[in-house]
Structure formats: C-alpha cells, structure tokens
Amino acid sequence: MESFVNETLVRGLMHENPATYEYTWLVQVVWMVTLAFLAGTFGAVISGIYTWTERRMAGRIQSRIGPNRVGPAGFLQWIVDAVKLLLKEDLTPKDADPILFKIAPYFVFLGFVMTFVALPFSASFVAADLNVGIFYILAITALVVVGVLMSGWASNSKWALFGGIRSAAQVVSYEIPAGLSLLVPVMMAGTLSTQGLIQFQGGPQDGAWWQVGGWFWNWTAFANPMAFVAFFIFFIASLAEGNRTPFDLPEAESELVAGFFTEYSGMRFAVFTLVEFGNIWVMSALAVILFLGGWEIPGVSHAQIAASPWYGYSLISGGIFVLKTLLMSLVVMWIRWTLPRIRVDQMMNICWKYLVPISMVLVVLTAANELLMAWASPLVLSLLHIVFFAMAGLLPAVLFFKQTFKNIRLMGDRVDLSNW
C-alpha cells in the first residue's frame, strides 16, 4: 500500500519525489482516512442490503416471496426501513440509565466499523495493513460486547439484562475456540497480517497456471485436514460471536422478546440492527481471508498483480473478495433459517467440551504437520492439496446437491425458478 501511495499518488498525481516531498506522510494519512471512511460506509450499506437479502432468502426457504414492493424485487426496502426508523421517536425509558442507554449503540457501532480498517479488499485496497491485523480484528470486535452489556444493563429491563449477560458469557467463551482455530492458518502462514495470510493462499511464487493464484486447492481450508476442521470451528465460533442462529441466545425472540435491544427504538434500534447484519459481513470476510483464499485470483501470481496498474487485477481481486464474502454470508443466513437455537448451558458445553479441546489438538497437529511437510516441494504440495480438495471439498458438494435435488423429487415437486 505504501508503494501505491508513493508511486501513484505522490509521484503520479503530484509530480513530486516521495522520498524528498515533505508532505508524503500527510498524503498517506489522508489516503488511509479516505479508505477507512469508504470501508465504513461500505459496511453500513452492505448491512442494509443484507437485511433485504436475508428477508428474501428466508422467504424462499419458507415457500414465500419476501419483500417485493419497493424497487425491483423489493431491493430498496432497506432504504425505506432505515428512513422510517430515522423518523421514529428516539425513546428512552423513564427508569433507564440515560447516559449509558444512549451511548451503548455507539460502542456497538464502533466495534463493528473499526474492523473494516484491517479488512483487505484487494492487494492495494486496505486502510491499514497492520502486522497484527487478525489480532486487531479479534480485539476490536470484543468492543461490541461492551456495548451490548451496557445496553442490557442500562435499559433497566429484565429481558434486556438477560440478553446482555447471555451475550457477554457467549462472546467471552467463544473468543477462545475462535482464537485457537485461527492459530492454525496463522501458524501455516507465519504471519498475523491479513494481507500476509491471504498471500499465503496464493500458491507458490512461480509455477504452472494451475499452481499459482487463488485456486480452491490453494486455500488454507483445503490445505490439510487440520485446517479443514479449523475452518468449521472458526466458523461456528464466529457465528456465536456475531449472535447468529443457532447462537442467537442474546436476542432469542421466543424467550427474551428481543434481548438486549428490547427497549430501543428509532435510530438507536437501527444501529443495533445495522451492526447485527454488518457482523455477518465481518465474520464472512474473516473466514474468507483466513481460510478461503481472500482476494487471490485463480491462475494469477503475485508478481503479475504487482505489475498491473491499480484498476487491473486489483479490481478483479476486489470483486472476487466481495463475491466470496457474499456467498459466505448467504451460508450464514441459510443456517439461520434452518437450525433451532441452543440453550445457554449447551452453548457452554459446545464451547468447552467440543470446540476448545478439538482446536487445541488441531494446533498441535498443525505444528507437527508443518515440521513433517517441510521436505515437500511446491509441486508435491500442490498435488496433495488437489487430492485433498477433491475429497473434502468437491465430493461433499456433489453429494449435497444430489441430496438437494432428491428432496425436491421426494416431495413430488420440480425445480421452478420462474418466480425468483
């Protein structure tokens, strides 16, 4: 990124020598702020769009249509909802703690939007390529729970309190399996930087077209069985951290009415909703960065990306990243409309009896694997990855789709997309 600012902005636009120009630092800061603002805005917009996506998807799953009146296929519904919530009265309950009640949404929002600082969209589009990027994201998402706890306490409502306490217990416990399983790709790549983790999934530096770039078999998830399992553990743990079904205990509708934001209305409620849906993006983006190849383009090596102008491969890689993250988010939503909710004690059980021990074993096994596979040449590694991908990725996918179409046949229905 530094080279991009130096070469393209300072030298290209301002015709100055970046090494001697005294305002190079200023250009860099302005560029970072601009990128962070763009990423934050993107987060707000994407969470709005997700409310529409989720409702459309839920509609299909439940044999109905979903929002379809405002704009094409109801796409503008999220804008209408946001405007409506903006116009609503901002109500503070009489017995609530007024200060904490009012600032809680900002904490939640801050914890969400600050993650975008370290989320890389492409080789050059990242606000700050921190060398502890993943660590930073994990730390900053924990800020959300402070806001949630604050809102739960300040609402002076028993339902909200339950939601807040549940959320705190849940997020704190699931940080551990998330962190441990995340160690697997970190150990494999040898870096905490998000860009470094993605570049690790680009295959060898040079090789045949099927070896380099973001092919499926270069992804960390398909590198070895440990990483494959770690991917699922990380995914489950991030579902829990994002309060998504089956871990939506803090806002369990049938138990706690609406959980920690029961008493909120108007725009403060909208902020909570925004964060809830925006977190889908964050958790999917993290899974994509760590395990599913990030912005790597299949068949294009890093040298080619570096050589191309910013709008070339960089733009394509941004598109690939967004597409992968969107698909991942669809999976998150799809899970929500399939599974029931677990109970509080079972939530702890799953964390401490299943996820934590398994991820600990995975960390040890990965370390052993790293030592074991040190002899292998890039070609052998690529071939091994392809074999593992065929077994762990391709085969289940084929079986799954066969099962899906079998389901349609069993009910005597047929595939009909005419009303999509």
Binding site: M57, R60, R64, F400, N407, I408, R414
Partner: protein
C-alpha cells in the same frame, strides 16, 4: 456406550442432521413459493378462486322473499333486522319495508341461509369490506320507499328465479367507493335541535 463413542456419535449426529436440514432448506430455494401477491398481483381476482360454498357477505334477493322471517329467527346474534307491516292500501297484504344485514356484526355461520325456503338469502363470495365508516357495512336490501310484498311459491317449482348471486351486494359495495355527491346538502339543523326539546316538554 463408552464416553468416547458417545462423543464421536454426537458429532456425527450433528453433522448428518445438519446435512439433511440444510439440503431441505436449500431445495426450497429452487421450488415455487406457495404465496400469491394479494390483492393486486393475482391472475384472477381472489373472489373468483373461492369455492361456491364460500361464506362471504350475505345477500338477499327481495324478489323471491316469502317474508317468513326464518332467517331472523335462526340468527344467533340478531344481525338481520326485518320490518314487516300491513300494506296501508291493502290491509290484507303484508309488506316488508326493511331488510338490513349488519355485515360487521355477522359471524358468517350460514345458519340463516340453511333456513331460507327459496334461496333468496345466500352467501356471496364477496369478502373485502374495508372502509372508513363501519356503518356502511350494513347492507339494506329493501328500499323503504318501495316496500316488498311476499313471493308466492309457484306450485311444484324446483327452483326460483333469483338474480345473479353477488349482483346486489356488489352494487352496494360500489357505492362505498363511489365519489361523494357534488355538494352535501345542508342539514336542517334547527329541526334536529328542536326535536329533543319537544320530547322533553312532553315528558314533563
């Protein structure tokens, strides 16, 4: 079962049950939704898709009414109001000056329809009764200025000449949506104010 076996079995059960559940929800994304977009995006008006026995607004064809009042007696909640008097011109003849059905009160049970000897009283397939003023939901099937005489049952007749089902109700429903008259005639205010005063005087 040993603890280890149970541990592994739990994980396996979870994976297989999620596998099936997820494939079912995915398969529903490829099927046609069940719902229709009522009211404006349907191919046929919903009214026309309803079965013939549908119990919508009640409709009475005064031309074949025998003035038997069986419907009024059958109604559990008295939502049918009938007034029958003697014809001043011909004291032997009974005339009906009022036949009101309060569709807001009606519970659409169909007991009155079963009692009707000629089929003058029928359920239509009309059901959309949204309006500003609930008083409009009272259907008046007899114009008091044109009283109705009893229908003589023709001997041995199997059926009776009834108007098309729904015609009368639809006509009244159209009046709800019709634009108001060009001007609203002024109410005779003093007369209304004077009437209770007179009543009070009488009471005293």
């Amino acid at each position: 079962m040993s603890a280890t076996q149970e541990y592994v079995q739990n994980i396996r059960d979870t994976v297989t049950s999620f596998w099936h559940g997820m494939s079912i929800t995915l398969s529903h994304m490829f099927r046609r939704p069940m719902t229709v977009q009522y009211p404006d995006r349907v191919d046929v008006p919903v009214r026309d898709t309803l079965p013939p026995r549908y119990r919508g607004f009640l409709e009475m064809d005064s031309a074949i009414c025998t003035l038997c009042q069986a419907c009024e007696r059958a109604c559990p909640i008295a939502c049918i109001a009938i007034e029958i008097e003697k014809d001043p011109a011909n004291p032997k003849q009974r005339i009906m000056t009022r036949f009101d059905i309060d569709a807001a009160k009606c519970m659409y049970c169909g007991l009155c329809v079963e009692q009707c000897p000629t089929g003058a009283l029928q359920h239509t397939r009309e059901f959309e009764g949204t309006m500003v003023n609930i008083a409009n939901l009272t259907f008046r099937f007899v114009d008091p200025t044109k009283p109705v005489t009893a229908y003589k049952l023709p001997k041995g007749a199997e059926s009776y000449p009834r108007r098309m089902l729904g015609e009368i109700v639809q006509q009244q429903m159209r009046a709800w949506d019709a634009p108001p008259p060009p001007f609203i005639p002024e109410e005779p205010a003093p007369a209304v104010a004077a009437a209770p005063a007179k009543a009070e005087e009488k009471a005293q």
